[in-house]
Symmetry: C2
Subunit: 365 residues, 2 copies
DNA sequence: TTTGTAAATGTATGCGCTTACACTGAGTGA
DNA sequence: TCACTCAGTGTAAGCGCATACATTTACAAA
């Protein structure tokens, strides 16, 4: 049974398809009684206009796209069970440690921000993620169905992105120096880290350990640069021990243990351990706390990201909060503005970060 | 400058549009060298196939839809600033209470689950939310552009949903007794609450306070029924004081204060305070802790939902975790199966909940 | 060489809608 | 009475693609 079309509605209402279309698009251009007849026919047939046909005829879809590179969480997904019976699973959850519960998938917040802003402005949002070798395919697929597109920097080869940008508005997220031909949104990663480091340097004269993320990560690089900026400002570029590790709480614990051990064997504790993200910093805190090393009295610790857990630790963690959700929102806003002014100069928006000074770097009194 | 079409590509490659289409859809049906020529032309022109045209011709889009009713978070959104300069905002965040930071928008997880599963299965997901009086419009708009649709129960009038379901597969989320003609997914709200209550009743002989959500909320109603089920099982339906309030932490605090005050003026403390959600329970805990009333030694407290904060409180909160993310995932899975078997019986999937027994209801030793 | 067959490609149609343009008829002013 | 408007409606032409069917080509067999 085929879905009804304008033709069916037109026939039933005794009008032409043009009139049907008008009733749906510009109701004030038809006489009220014909409109009523058409609406009745629509209702009786359960007619739903085909978005594809409309999009084709109108050359716009009212849909915005957000494209993200694939991430592990998807690959790890297993088949979901579909029980009809439900049931209750009773779990004794006593004595577990209250930790990595908070899945802090960076993308999540971007997606949510984009969704909220898109909805607010009356667009629908289509989200797709690349998977394996089909990712370019997935991307162009999506590009073909939207009026504008948001892409995470480096998620798509330039050879694909550049020609596309000539067709529809494209906003690049987290672009750094590159992508100057595109509208783009980023956050002040580097400045934020510099400001936090600045604060820390003002409160300790000891050695600084910088526990940063992997060399390849652009985020990690920016944050490292921020640290260096602050060190240079204070003329203390020699006081630092640089480390590059993966961004996990376990990494933080491991490094924390090493520092504790070193201290036990007589070496001085560093004045501060700056971390490239909150998870690492929490790991370091875990070990310091376990070893009875008082933070911030004996050593300062700081993080980056502003995840919720950073406000629940003890001591609470000084950190830099990135407005990730705003990243998504701003991108949608940029797209929307680009529709108004298709040929303006590319805009680069930089969102401010918040340096949250909390107990873990409070100057020892 | 108009986007290139198959015609442009065909002309450039010196072939017909049919061949271009074949190169894109079924590459093994064209000679490798023609394919190469076409691909070159595609690249040179920056051709991106129109999703609308394709959808129209193929009568499918590869897109699934998720429709949610509007919620306050959107209405409250203000215009976002788009600064070009970035900057750093330094905030002294000392001494703040570490609390409602975690925005636990129920929908979030549904959306995320649906996204993950859709991506995993190679679909794109389109998410839309209804806003004000245009919501039906938004809904049909979306319905016209997708191959299948997920809708939250009651988000759309039956008069709209029923005829649509004859056209494309529709899955209803959180359907209760109704919606039997649709594929649907729900969780064992009632059974979960019954199981948790059962556990609590086994560990106290005192009065039970049930601090539930608003009467109108179907969720609240189901949970209340679960409590009643357990009370009946234990023959203690008289031991309970029922309360219906809005689902906030402040509500919990207010009620907590009342109980503390009553206790101070000589009334006995209840044996347990069961709450309709975690936020309320955390509010109650806040006040008990502040007043020095030991939980679980003097009174048991439980929540519902399994939000992250419930695992970070002290004592940690016993609660029932709903597999919200799975709700979204299961819905997508159902849709996908429905594509295989368009005419099967409607399926009702019930997902199991997990009762998480933690310190807040641990039997006093 | 001719013929048969399969692979490769082209032609033409239709998917369901919007909209420019053409047409109709009722109302207007002269 | 007769142009002349103009609101209301119809006609028809695409929008860009996939694909059934028709045609051509390549190549093996006769």
């Amino acid at each position: 049974m085929k879905p009804p079309t304008v033709y069916d509605v037109a026939e039933r209402a005794g009008v032409s398809i043009a009139t049907v279309s008008r009733v749906l698009r510009s109701p004030n251009r038809v006489r009220p009684d014909t409109a009523a007849r058409v609406e009745a026919a629509v209702r009786e047939l359960g007619y739903v206009p085909s978005g594809a046909a409309r999009g084709l005829a109108e050359r716009r879809t009212g849909v915005l796209g957000l494209y993200l590179p694939g991430f592990d969480a998807i690959e790890e997904l297993t088949e979901i069970e579909l029980p009809e019976t439900g049931g209750t699973d009773i779990v004794s959850d006593l004595g577990r440690s209250a930790d990595d519960h908070v899945a802090d998938l960076y993308f999540d917040e971007v997606v949510r921000g984009a969704e909220l802003e898109a909805w607010r402005r009356g667009y629908a949002l289509m989200v797709a993620v690349g998977r394996g070798e089909n990712s370019v395919q997935t991307f162009t697929d999506m590009a073909g169905r939207v009026d504008g597109l948001i892409v995470l920097a480096r998620a798509v080869p330039d050879a694909v992105l550049t020609p596309l940008a000539a067709r529809i508005p494209v906003v690049v997220l987290s672009a750094r120096g590159d992508y100057e031909a595109f509208d783009r949104v980023s956050v002040s990663n580097r400045e934020g880290m510099a400001a936090l480091t600045d604060h820390v340097l003002a409160h300790t004269t000891g050695e600084i350990v910088y526990l940063g993320g992997p060399e390849e990560s652009p985020d990690a690089r920016d944050r490292r640069r921020g640290v260096r900026d602050a060190l240079e400002k204070h003329g203390r570029t020699e006081d630092v021990r640089w480390m590059s590790e993966i961004f996990t709480r376990d990494t933080g614990r491991r490094v924390g243990r090493e520092l504790v051990r070193a201290a036990a064997s007589g070496e001085p504790l560093p004045g501060a351990v700056l971390c490239g993200n909150d998870q690492m910093a929490l790991g370091v805190l875990d070990e310091f706390t376990a070893a009875g090393i008082a933070v911030p009295e004996r050593v300062l610790v700081s993080g980056f990201d502003g995840i919720p857990a950073a406000a629940l630790s003890s001591p609470r963690l000084s950190t830099v909060r990135q407005p990730i959700e705003d990243l998504g929102r701003a991108a949608i806003a940029l797209l929307d503005e680009r529709f108004q002014a298709p040929n303006g100069e590319p805009r680069g928006v930089r969102l401010p970060v918040s340096v949250l000074l909390r107990e873990s770097t409070a100057p020892s009194v």
